[in-house]
């Protein structure tokens, strides 16, 4: 295969209907270029996993096409499995494996020779600072370390596209950073990375581009900055309410607000920042709120506005 092949993943108008009624994917189109880290964001049931399963050849779309370079992944699921590496959201079934065994056997399954697999295994174990668990059985690993071993299994011999479903679940903050470095490295090597996540704050830092999907449809696609462009000139004023306090009457300067637990997030105009701070200080002074913070709007604000509800319990949304 010549080097000039364009290894872009192209998902074109993919539709998947379950039981003749649930449209899990509804005309989804997106593309992920080699070297790109692409985020796929959306609430539970948005259709993210359904899309991933169609890319890796476990489900067949009812309509549309999925291609990777010259390969039609819908017509050729064997090619899909060879070209895609997959880290599922569930933990890897490696309780009986020593960490290095699980990684090395996965590398062999992906077709690499023993020396290459061992070299890559050592490289990744060192990069993620996992040396002390190299010979530990999976059953004795903590959730976070097991997750990292799963990440190494998925990337030891990467395919043209690496699909990572919530890779940092249970992982400590230091090793999260190391993991994102390795994700970047994959990009530098020409691998396309499809990152499936709920963690919008983390995704904002890690991805080059992203798509927000809900109810099987693409709501928006672009770079994190372009997604936030509609929010230029607006600020988020976040208040931590005193326990047991209900949401106070909101002044007209508050354009949007969301309450999750004791956290009240409001959006105000940049020009009214001083008034906003005054209002927040007043609430703190009255003991209604404990503290406040003013900052620029984040991708999470965009995400919440687009998907229209919040996944946490006890939440209220009022756009």
């Amino acid at each position: 295969m010549p080097n000039s092949v364009d290894w872009t993943l192209r998902v074109n108008e993919v539709t998947k209907v379950f039981n003749n009624k649930v449209r899990a994917n509804d005309g989804l189109s997106l593309h992920v270029e080699p070297g790109e880290v692409y985020g796929l964001l959306g609430p539970n049931g948005a259709g993210k996993t359904t899309l991933v399963k169609q890319i890796i050849g476990l489900l067949k779309p009812d309509g549309g096409s999925i291609t990777l370079g010259p390969h039609d992944l819908v017509a050729d699921p064997d090619a899909a499995r060879q070209l895609c590496s997959y880290l599922p959201q569930a933990q890897m079934p490696i309780n009986s494996f020593r960490s290095r065994e699980a990684i090395e056997i996965t590398g062999m399954i992906r077709g690499a020779d023993s020396a290459t697999v061992k070299r890559r295994c050592n490289e990744l174990i060192e990069a993620l600072e996992l040396e002390e668990w190299r010979n530990t059985y999976g059953a004795r690993l903590s959730g976070g370390v097991k997750r990292l071993i799963g990440f190494v299994m998925a990337t030891v011999i990467p395919g043209r596209i690496v699909i990572l479903d919530e890779p940092t679940n249970d992982v400590d903050p230091l090793r999260r950073r190391l993991l994102w470095e390795q994700v970047r490295r994959l990009g530098e090597q020409g691998v396309a990375v499809l990152l499936v996540t709920h963690n919008v704050i983390e995704a904002e830092k890690a991805v080059d581009r992203l798509a927000i999907i809900d109810q099987g449809r693409l709501l928006a696609e672009g770079t994190p900055s372009s997604m936030k462009s509609a929010d230029r000139g607006r600020l988020r004023l976040q208040l931590k309410m005193a326990p047991g306090r209900s949401t106070p009457d909101l002044p007209p300067l508050v354009q949007e607000h969301t309450r999750v637990g004791n956290s009240l997030m409001t959006v105000i105009n940049e020009a009214e920042a001083a008034h906003g701070i005054g209002w927040a200080q007043e609430l703190v002074g009255l003991g209604v709120a404990e503290e406040y913070a003013l900052g620029s709007t984040t991708l999470e604000d965009v995400y919440i506005r687009m998907t229209g509800d919040i996944e946490a319990s006890g939440s209220v949304t009022a756009p």
Binding site: M92, F97, I109, G111
Partner: protein
């Protein structure tokens, strides 16, 4: 680590994948493999001895049927009962999708299961046979046909269980079916006793089920004059082998 630009294919891809996935399966069962071999061996040998303890004096024909039948039970228990339960467990624990996303030809995974089942059941069968020969004065004559008979029985039993586990989407249903199967095999199949001891209708049904032919081909390979028409048994069992391979191929190739 630049990703590969070519797709693998051909016999060497198949063979390397088979070896790698077999290593995966055996390592994955490492914690339970020795105990499973031990339990199956003790169950097989124990059943041979228990019949004698229970009845005091076992008629020669009954001893012959029990001692040859128990070999079949040890050969198919793993493939038809334990393996479907393991696959059902993968579905419950949501590891099934990862395992099926691995880049190996589907057939290598099926053949790896057959090999794994042979590794577990052969020692148990050998021990049961040795105990039977030591405990009873049986007219056993081991012939080279024992090898193809064992391979065909293990292959068919494994493929039936494997196809079933993949075909049934609900894991709890798979577990229930496999539990019914073990009762059917041990209690209601002419494996440990002659078919003429069953009600006529059930004996007729068993002419077309795989269990009695499994017992016939094993029994015919180590006895003389006990099995009247082993060719028919090979035909019926061969048909079940072909049908279960077809079912497995269809199910594994299917994408919902």
């Amino acid at each position: 680590m630049t990703p590969s630009a070519t797709l693998r294919s051909g016999p060497s891809y198949w063979w390397r994948s088979y070896l790698a996935i077999l290593r995966w399966d055996l390592t994955g069962l490492r914690m339970v493999l020795p105990i499973t071999v031990l339990v199956l061996s003790l169950a097989g040998a124990g059943f041979v001895l228990a019949v004698d303890l229970f009845f005091g004096q076992v008629p020669d024909k009954a001893a012959l049927y029990v001692c040859t039948g128990v070999l079949v039970v040890t050969l198919v228990t793993i493939g038809m009962v334990l393996a479907p339960q393991l696959i059902a467990q993968q579905k419950i624990e949501k590891t099934y999708d990862f395992l099926w996303s691995l880049p190996v030809p589907r057939t290598t995974a099926a053949f790896s299961w057959v090999t794994t089942n042979l590794v577990i059941s052969l020692p148990a069968m050998a021990l049961a046979l040795a105990v039977a020969m030591l405990r009873y004065d049986l007219p056993l004559h081991l012939t080279p046909m024992l090898l193809p008979a064992v391979l065909l029985v293990v292959f068919t039993g494994t493929m039936i269980g494997y196809g079933l586990a993949h075909a049934v989407s609900q894991p709890m249903v798979t577990i229930a079916i496999s539990q019914v199967l073990i009762f059917l095999i041990i209690g209601f199949s002419p494996i440990n006793f002659p078919a003429d001891q069953l009600p006529g209708w059930l004996a007729s049904v068993h002419q077309w089920l795989p269990f009695a032919p499994m017992a016939d081909v094993i029994r015919a390979s180590i006895t003389v004059g006990v099995v009247p028409d082993v060719a028919r048994s090979y035909l019926v069992l061969g048909a079940w082998a072909a049908a279960s391979v077809t079912l497995t191929a269809v199910v594994l190739g299917r994408r919902k």
